[in-house]
Structure formats: C-alpha cells, structure tokens
C-alpha cells in the first residue's frame, strides 16, 4: 500500500481535465467494449448518427471521477440523457442510443462553451476510498477495481437521438484517506493496479509539454500541433492496453487460429507487469567502483632506506625535486632512494619568476634530510653562475631593447647523494644561477638531476660481464706507450657523428657506438669552389674529421677487458674501399674523398652463463667509402660556380653494422631436409609430427601430463574393446 503525504510536484494522474485530449480514442480498451471493437472515431459511423451535432470525442475512457467531452453543432434544443449500458450477450454489440434516462452513479452537467459547442461533464457521485474490513457503509469501494461500467450519453432532439457518447469507466479505489486529497497534495493511485507514471513525459507542472500527447495540461488545439509526432512508447503514455494473451485481445488480423484455445481469461486487476502477488521486494545491491574521496596519505616513517623508498625530511615529509610526471615537469615530486634521474623542464616565462623552483635561496636548499640510519644529513649547496645561457634559453627573439632582466634565476639543481648501506652519508647540491633577459616571453629550460654514488666517484663502468650487453658502449682502447702504465691499454670509445642544431660538422658532436645497435648519422661540410681546387687539402681535412671519431687501435673482445692482458683486445683493421668509377680531379671536383666511414662489428656467442648467451666482439673493421665531390651548377643555381668563396654543403656520414657470426649446431641440413618439408611443422600446415596432435608438444591447451593421462585412458579403452572383439578371438582360435 502506498500513502504519500508529501507534496509531489507533478500533474495529478486523476484530474478534472482527465479526457481533454482528443487523441484518447486510441487508448480505448476494447476489452470492456466488445461491441465497439473494430470501430474508431474516424469511421463514418460516428458522424453519421447525427449530422448536425456530434460529440468530440465520441468515445472516452474514464479512469478518474471526472470526465468531459464537447458536444458540437446545433445544440440549442438538445436534451442529454445518460444511462448505463452493457453489451448484448449474443451479439456483443451495444444497443443503439435511446433517449431514456437510466439510474447511474454519475452526475451530468453541461456548460455552454461557445455558440455551437457545449461542454458535457460527468462526475462520479461515489467516494473512491477502499472499504475497510467489516464496513457496511455504501459510500466506499468494496473491491480495488471500484467502478467498471459503460455509459452512454445521448443527445436527443425531440425524443430522437442525434449523437451519442460512449464512456468506459474503469476506476480504481484510492488508497489514501479522503481528507488527504485536500490542498495541493497529489493523489497517488494504488500502484499495484495502475502504473504510477501514467504519463512519464509530463514533466512540467501545469504547463503543456511539447510532443507529450498524454499531458492533460495540453489543450486540444495544442495537441493538434504535434499530434503526429507524439513521443512513442511508454514514455509518451502509450502503454499497451492489455497483454496479448488475454482472450479479450483477440483480433482477426494478428492472432493465430489456435488463439481461442490457448488464450487466458484473467481479471483486469491482474497487472501483467506487477502481478497480484507483487510485494515490492528488493535485493541488496552490490556497490560498484565509484569516484573516491581524495585522501592524501602522509608518508610512512622509514627506519632504513631501501631501493625505491622516498627520501624524507626531518619533519617526516617528502624531500622533493622537480621531476617528470604525466610527461610534464611536476615540482614537488618525492625522490626515490637509489634511482638516478636527469630531467629538463621547459617553462614559458612572461615575467620574472618569484617562487620555487626558479627562485631559490641557499637557506631553503640547505635543508636537513633523514639519513636513514637514525641520524640526519645536511645538503651542502655549491653555487655556480652560468656563463653560456644558450643551454638554458631557446627560441628567444633577440631584440635591442631588452625589456626584463631577471637576476639569480635558478637554472639547474644537480644533487649528488653519497650512500652507504641503508643510508645517506653526504648530499651535495650544485645550484646554477644566471641572469636572463628577455622582451615579452622566453622559453626557459631548467635542469634537475640526482645521482646516487656509492663511494667517492663513479668509476668507469664495464659494458658487460663477461660478454657485451646490448645497448652498452663498445670499449675501444689505445696502447699506452708513455708514462708508468706502459704496455697497458688506455680505454677510449668508438664514436659516430651526433649532429646538433644546424647539422654542420664544425658544431657536430660525437656519440659512442652502442653494442648491438645498428646506426647511421652524419654532418654537413661547407665546401667552396676554392676548396675544390685544392683536392689534397680537402681530402686531408675530411680524413682527419673522420679519423677523429676513431682514435683507438684496439677493441675489447669482452665487456670487462683487462687493460694489461693483450688477448682481451682485438686489432681494429682499417680498409679504404676504392670507388667503382675513378675520376680525375678537375677544377671544380675532387674524387676519392673519404666521405663515408663504416664500422662493421662481427660478434659471436662464445658461451653461456646460466642460460644467457654471452656475446663477444670477434673483429672490427673500419672502412671508408670514397666519393666524388663536384659542384653542380645546373638548374639555375650557378652561384657556387661563379663565386669561388660561395659554399655548398657536402655530407660526411658514418654508420655502424653489427653482424652475428652464427654458431653451427649439429650437422648441416641434407638436401632432403631442405626440399622435403613434410616434417617441418613451421613450414607446413599438415606435417607428420603433428599426426597425433593432442599428444604432442605442439598442443598447448592442457599441461602435457594431463593430455598424456587422458590419452592413456583412451588407449586403454581401445585395447579393451579390441581384446573383447573379433581379432583377439581369432588369435585365440589360432593358438588353440
């Protein structure tokens, strides 16, 4: 039972203008009007009964105590009569309208609405509250379905009916006390028998909702505006009248011929959606994930630092350095123990910075950290002043009138943490400050780094133990003939070009060759016509440029070479490749310029350490490709040929290739194995090793032990069947 005493802001489902909308015809429930089945308002029957006057609409369904309709046409001498009708038992039709009045529980009133229109209203004279137990008062509803009848209103002129209005009344009892309906409160009908939201699209109180054809606030004229665009489905108030299995729902068009044998006779109170026995039970719902409240947990106090634990201040707060998070620089990021980092942060400055981290004071930086062993350690701050501002400022527009001058901007913070065991022993910070000048805005690059050192300084790392690791630099060396370490090999590195900014060789840097990574790079050399007239000088210049990349004569065979043992080192061999076409030097061209340097490293697997292959360098070959440099003056660009000092850019390149020397394992493949691929399951979908597929290693669906067990069970059944079968009997006979 539902009783709502709070005010509900919505249109009452049962109101005085219950049947305003002319579009109600299609909601007529034919189950209670079998005689009218198949007819509709649009048929000529409705109008032809009394051409001068007509009811609009001519059929109504009443679910509340108030019904109204319009009588249009010649109304001056019309007398209205009301009677209760019922369909004929034999034909199912309702008798023709008559002018006799019957005894009903309805009051008929008329209001002149216009010259040719009369507003016909019917009001139920009955209290709709449900009778209590043992109540004998007549003015209440004994059943939940309180009123179920068909009314006929006839408009008679001189004793002959001219128009008739059929009203099907199906009114449920109210579950609220009679006095609760007073005031502004909305009356909620019993939900078990009547859906609570009879018109879900009626969203605005006392206003017509557009396209909501069941909205009782809409006048007939308003409904006409959008009657062909009514909101569909239950949301538009178009609930299906009765379930399709009801016998009363049989229509000749849609139902199958066996329908009369299998249809259901059920009282209309029995809602197919809620049912008579619906008690409104619910089950508890499981809470799913949702937005969490942002709880910022305080850092846990640590006793001893381990790898990855945050370094804390004395106040048990995080020690922070700007770092990268979300691919951007974030300022107060905690520092993990034993994790080095080096980040560049780009900040767009439009005014001089005031706060951290661009303006720092040595007193703020010289803070005390927990050393992880119960004590504390103070950060030593060393100040440096940046001279070359090009490292920190990019894409600034050089203007003569420098607008802003910002002094003592912190450009870099480089922390060095010295650690031992579970704690820090010393922390030094190199702070680089500088003065930046700019006009409107500048992109300032600041650098932050942290390095954890065990001991005093980082010794030169090896590139593997014992074999080379992929990605580590290739170790080269020169024989030290001077000094006290005579006979030992001094470590250097093999380099390739690393072009920067404009890509010219004069500014290009070099980067070490990394083991296992093929690479190529180069730089550009400006050459004028004057240079091309002196080819020997040009060749020497290019050769020295290329030779500067490789100063070493030895390369380490393994990743941890001993500088004193010469067998750990292999000679680097240099080869100059002759270009295929030999051309002579002319006035504007030079041949035989070693413009390309190629480093070819041959590596091989020398052994396995715990299953990991160890790769050593077998030999290293540096070759130079000679090329022909000539000025190309065609195509209108003749300036390099005219002006002897005008330069043209020629490329100088270097490249590295690593080649594995494969180790031969087992005998070589025979011609049969190469040509006949029936046994190679990688090259053939149908191959003989997979004949018993579920029992082989190619099957991955189950562990091998399980598939073996199931296979053995299968074989057992097979053998049992064959023993009990014919062949075994024959063998027994043969031995007998």
């Amino acid at each position: 039972a539902t009783y709502l005493d709070t005010q509900v802001e919505r249109a009452p489902p049962v109101g005085p203008n219950e049947e305003d909308a002319g579009a109600k015809c299609n909601r007529l429930r034919p189950s209670l009007l079998p005689g009218l089945r198949g007819r509709s308002c649009g048929t000529p029957h409705c109008r032809s009964t009394a051409p001068p006057s007509v009811f609009q609409p001519s059929r109504l369904t009443a679910t509340g105590p108030d019904v109204s309709a319009l009588l249009l046409g010649h109304t001056s001498d019309t007398v209205l009569s009301l009677r209760s009708v019922s369909p004929s038992n034999t034909t199912g039709l309702i008798g023709s309208p008559s002018c006799g009045n019957g005894v009903t529980q309805w009051v008929l009133t008329t209001v002149q609405a216009g010259k040719n229109a009369v507003w016909v209203q019917l009001r139920l004279r009955k209290n709709l509250r449900l009778c209590g137990k043992n109540e004998t008062d007549a003015d209440c509803c004994p059943k939940p379905l309180c009123v179920l009848e068909t009314l006929q209103v006839s408009a008679c002129v001189g004793g002959t009916p001219r128009a008739s209005l059929l009203i099907q009344a199906e009114i449920h009892a109210r579950l609220v006390p009679a006095n609760a309906g007073a005031g502004n409160k909305t009356i909620i009908p019993n939900q078990v028998y009547q859906p609570l939201g009879s018109c879900p699209c009626d969203l605005t109180f006392r206003a017509c909702d557009i396209r909501c054809c069941c909205d009782k606030d809409c006048s007939v004229e308003e409904v006409k505006l959008f009657v062909s665009h009514c909101l569909p489905g239950p949301f538009g108030g178009q609930v299906p009248a009765a379930p399709g299995y009801q016998c009363s729902e049989q229509s000749s068009a849609n139902s199958p011929d066996w329908f009369p044998f299998l249809c259901v006779n059920s009282p209309p109170e029995n809602s197919p959606y809620l049912g008579l026995f619906y008690q409104g039970d619910t089950i508890t719902s499981k809470p799913g994930p949702s937005f969490q409240s942002p709880v910022l947990s305080a850092p846990l106090p640590v006793r001893a630092y381990i790898q990855g634990s945050p370094i804390l201040l004395l106040t048990d707060q995080y020690f922070t350095i700007p770092q990268r998070g979300l691919e951007q620089c974030v300022n107060n990021a905690p520092v993990p123990f034993l994790e080095n980092f080096n980040v560049n942060c780009v900040t767009i400055l439009r005014s001089c910075p005031a706060g951290l981290p661009l303006q720092t004071q040595p007193t703020n930086l010289s803070i005390t950290l927990k050393d992880g062993q119960g004590g504390d350690v103070v950060v030593d701050v060393i100040d440096e002043v940046a001279i070359d501002m090009s490292l920190f400022i990019s894409n600034t527009v050089a203007t003569l009138d420098e607008g802003l001058v910002c002094e003592n901007v912190t450009l870099a913070l480089d922390y060095t943490f010295y650690w031992k065991g579970n704690g820090l022993t010393n922390v030094t910070l190199t702070r680089t400050v500088g003065t930046i000048t700019f006009n409107t805005s500048v992109a300032l690059t600041t650098r932050y780094s942290a390095v954890f050192l065990n001991g005093d300084l980082m010794s030169e790392p090896n590139s593997g133990n014992p074999g080379y690791q992929v990605g580590r630099p290739v170790i080269a060396g020169t024989l030290d003939t001077l000094g006290n370490k005579s006979g030992s090999v001094q470590r250097t590195s093999l380099n390739v070009w690393k072009p920067v900014s404009d890509g010219l060789c004069s500014t290009a840097e070099s980067k070490p060759v990394l083991f296992g990574e093929n690479s190529t790079s180069g730089c550009l050399l400006p050459v004028s016509r004057q240079d091309l007239t002196r080819c020997d000088l040009l060749r020497d210049a290019v050769t020295s440029l290329q030779a500067a990349l490789i100063t070493a004569t030895y390369v380490a065979k393994s990743g941890n070479p001993d500088p004193l043992i010469m067998t750990d080192w292999a000679n680097i061999s240099f080869v100059t490749l002759n270009s295929s076409t030999t051309m002579d030097d002319t006035t504007s061209s030079c041949s035989g310029v070693p413009s390309h340097q190629h480093i070819h490293v041959l590596s091989l697997i020398t052994g396995m350490v715990e299953g990991r292959a160890q790769r050593d360098i077998h030999s290293l070959l540096v070759s130079y490709t000679l090329s022909h440099w000539a000025l190309d003056c065609g195509g209108g660009d003749s300036s390099p040929c005219m002006d002897p000092l005008e330069t043209k850019l020629f490329p100088i390149t270097s490249s590295v290739t690593f080649t594995d020397i494969p180790i031969s394992t087992g005998p070589p493949k025979t011609r049969f194995q190469v040509n006949f691929t029936e046994y190679d399951c990688n090259r053939n979908d149908v191959c003989w090793p997979e004949l018993a597929f579920p029992m082989t290693k190619y099957y991955t669906g189950e562990p091998y032990s399980q598939s073996l067990a199931k296979g053995l069970i299968l074989i057992f059944f097979f053998i049992t069947a064959s023993i009990l079968g014919t062949p075994w009997r024959q063998i027994r006979q043969a031995w007998a």
Binding site: G308, Q323, R324, L326, Q328, V330, N331, A443, P694
Partner: protein, 309 residues
C-alpha cells in the same frame, strides 16, 4: 527346358591357417589398409585436428573511476592536468585544474552487464588559454566467464591534438580485446588483475604516460579503445569550458583459445568414419579373392564339419 532355382542356401567356408604363414601376413596388411589408410587420407586433407576455437561473450566491463587527463593549453608547452590520484594532483601544483566529470554506464538489455559508458568532462579554461591537445586515460575492470574466468584491469586511452585550438572533442568507439596469445580453455586467468596505474606510489615516475602505456602493452591481454573517427570542434565560446564527450561501447567479442583434450578428438573421429567405408570394401574384396583362389595356401573348411570332427 528352362531351369529355375527350387531352393538355394549359402555355404560357409572357413579358410584356416596357422600363425606363421604368408596368409597371416597378408591378413595383417589388409587390416592395416582397412584402418590406417582412411586415417592418412583424412589427415592429409587438412582440418584434421582443431587447433583454435572461438566463442562469443559479452564481457563484464566496469569503469574503475580512475582517470588521468592532460591538456596542452598553448603551442609552447603550457598544460593543465587532472587525475583521480591525490598524490599526483598534489605534485601538479599550479597546473592542476579540476574539471567537472559525469559518468554513466548504460545497460540497455538489463542483463547486468554495461553496454555503453558515457563519459563527459568539462575542463575550465582561462580566457588567455586555448586547448591544443588532450590526453585522457580511463581504467576498467574486465571479466570474462564462459570458458576460462578472465579477470583483468585494463585501460582506454584517448589522444587528440590539433594545430587549431578546440572547443570540444567527441569520441565514440568500441573497447576491444586484444590478444597476443590464446586464453586458456578453463580455469582462472587473473595474471593481469593488477592496477594499470600504481595510484599508491608517491613518485612522479609512476604516472608517466609512456611508462604506463609501455608496461600495459607488454601484456598479452589488453583492451584498446578503437575510435577511428574522433571529432574535434573548433571555436570555443568565451567563458565556456573545454568539453570532452566519450561514448565507449562494450561489445560482444570472440576471444580465441586452444581447445581442451577431448574437443580436438571429435572431428577426426567423424572424418575417419567418413573415409572408412570407401576403404572398407576394397581390402575385404582382396581378402575374398586371394582366399578363394588359394593364392596364399589355406585350409578351406566347410562350416559345421569342423565343429563336429
């Protein structure tokens, strides 16, 4: 004179031999031909064993309400960001901008599994800022039940950038399952039921998008947001926020898996049976022909006599 059969009856003749004879060898060859040759023919004609199966299932996908958002607000590198991780928001400092987010999970057919996730985000933008690119990361919990029970945490990543500052990005796509290896055909598979983003980590490196994506892509089982047509709307009205609308459909899918032990055995049995009948008659005919002609010496015995003697 015409002759006709008054009566006829079959006479059973048994051809007997001992074990170590040529006839026994011949019988073995015939038996092998009868049973092995249909196997070989069926095997050589492809499709003998089932090696992969698929099945259809709608996954149970739930939005985990974890979000990372980065928006570039100038072509020079200014940005604003927001996440549901308080530790990261704390680190972002002045670049933190809290959007208004509304999330709805729709279940059209009321089967308890979400069919559609509607994610709407409105990011407030200063008058001097413009949005040039958006990166959005959402996390999901993903469950499959029909064959093996798969439980994992997955993510969807939306990225769009444009040289023209935008007002709105509309994304409508499918959350698809990506498999590098087949799923097991039974049991519980919860290797990847770990957080994609370590929200408990205080360090900035835990929230780097490239690290999150790289770790995620190393997995054999992932989901991707397949959205081939994002719509970038330009022309932001003054004072209005940047809007991001995402509709993510959580559709049916067909994850492959290797079948169990008994499943591959079924079709070979039918195939063998199909080829058995053509191969059954021929060796039996050979058996009859060679026995009757006494090609291999045997002892023919009339039925009945052997028992009586």
């Amino acid at each position: 004179m015409a002759f006709y059969d008054v009566y006829s009856h079959p006479a059973l003749i048994r051809y007997k031999t001992s074990v170590c004879t040529k006839a026994t060898l011949f019988l073995l060859v015939v038996l092998c031909l009868t049973y092995i040759s249909p196997l070989l023919v069926a095997y050589r004609s492809h499709g003998f064993w089932i090696k992969r199966s698929t099945y259809e299932e709608q996954p149970d996908v739930r939005f985990q309400y974890q979000t990372l958002l980065v928006a570039a607000t100038s072509p020079r590198g200014d940005y604003v960001a927001w996440s549901t991780f308080p530790r990261l928001n704390d680190m972002l400092g002045a670049n933190l901008r809290i959007p208004s987010v509304s999330v709805r999970e729709d279940d059209h057919n009321r089967d308890g599994k979400s069919d559609l996730l509607i994610f709407r985000l409105q990011l407030p933008i200063k008058p001097e800022e413009q949005v040039y690119s958006v990166q959005l990361l959402l996390t999901f919990s993903y469950k499959l039940f029909r064959m093996s029970t798969v439980v994992m945490q997955s993510l969807a990543y939306v990225q769009h950038s444009s040289p023209v500052p935008g007002a709105k990005l509309s994304v409508s796509g499918d959350l698809r399952l990506m498999q590098r290896t087949p799923l097991p055909h039974r049991g519980l598979h919860d290797v990847y039921n770990v957080s994609v983003i370590d929200g408990s980590s205080p360090f900035a490196s835990a929230y780097n998008l490239d690290g999150i994506i790289r770790r995620y892509q190393e997995r054999n089982l992932t989901t991707v947001l397949s959205c081939p047509m994002p719509v970038w709307t330009v022309g932001r009205a003054a004072g209005s926020p940047f809007q991001l609308d995402a509709e993510i459909r959580l559709l049916h899918l067909l994850p492959p898996f290797p079948p169990g032990f008994w499943e591959p055995l079924k079709p070979p049995g039918i195939q063998n049976f199909g080829f058995f009948f053509p191969f059954f008659g021929l060796p039996q005919g050979y058996r009859g022909f060679f026995s009757q002609t006494q090609f291999f010496p045997t002892v023919p015995v009339r039925a009945g006599k052997a028992h009586r003697s």
